[in-house]
Symmetry: C3
Subunit: 144 residues, 3 copies
Amino acid sequence: MRGLAGPVMVEVFTVATRDAKQCLDITASVDAIVRRSGAASGLCHVMVLHATAAIAINENDDPNIGVDLLRALDQAVPDHDGWLHDQIDNNAHAHIKAAIVGPSETIPIEKGELVLGRWQGIMLLEFDGPRPQRRVAVRILRDG
Amino acid sequence: MRGLAGPVMVEVFTVATRDAKQCLDITASVDAIVRRSGAASGLCHVMVLHATAAIAINENDDPNIGVDLLRALDQAVPDHDGWLHDQIDNNAHAHIKAAIVGPSETIPIEKGELVLGRWQGIMLLEFDGPRPQRRVAVRILRDG
Amino acid sequence: MRGLAGPVMVEVFTVATRDAKQCLDITASVDAIVRRSGAASGLCHVMVLHATAAIAINENDDPNIGVDLLRALDQAVPDHDGWLHDQIDNNAHAHIKAAIVGPSETIPIEKGELVLGRWQGIMLLEFDGPRPQRRVAVRILRDG
């Protein structure tokens, strides 16, 4: 039994997006932070610090899943549909999708590694790109 | 390095909603609890304790984003569409939206403050109002 | 005041699903793990370790809410709609729904019990069943 150990902090990394809508696998970046932290056990919280992007967890082996996901969201939330916010910024659809999918995911850490299923990866969903810098905050709360 | 300090508890505050569907910015209420806790570092979990409301994170500067979000959810999940639960309570659409958006969000705390992007605020989404009291539970897990 | 105590670990239980799409109440299973842990206070993280299922929180008293929820998701994301991933695995709709609803929920623990509203239960949503074993990871981060 012991108290929490080591430096505690939010680590922020950035991702460049190249398309208006894009699904990027950021699992390796998050995994590197977990390993560098030395945390053996706890929870890892991953959050995109923008209101027109989201974090999701899904399969990363077939990249077409990301393509399908973006199209399904487009069908449910058309780019332009008389959205009031479009009068200001023309990206209402991106805000709506970001709010529905959500900005963060939490993943357990055990034996120093993220606990994910065989087909689960961590995805950044860009809804209003391209952007040179999307900021992702990773916060580990450890108890081992 | 030290163990967890200070009183640990779930703090619950209430919000009154005035419309059938409404998006309310609750960032200031959550922020006040974080400051009062004295937590320098950790995670803050915010959860609405009802099955016909949700918590989302998005822009709060243009209130029309909330209006657009509620309409997009209405278009995807019509108020009445032969939902079976409507035979009992007539608010199936509210339960469905609450399940999809989700009841909670988790936000890092650093240097005693919530880590949110410039355009991110914490929103309570009311889907079955108006209600005099919507309960929101805030739980801080601190390690500094 | 004290440090984190007791064994820390991810506990995994399995659920069998019997339908292609199904909403199962897993609250009792999660609750049993919380009680067995002896944690008085903290956060409980519940995550399904698959990319074609999700965890949601909603009412469990009227099971038709789950039926309505699954149909609403079907209407927003049709089973087959030219999804690219269907060329490989024919279950793109399940991946899309899983990404939108999300694989996990976090719930506070206080006085040794899950903090849930009167009408909130923890649901596993099966989108690509039936499956003999869906794995659910429960991780408690305690501070009391």
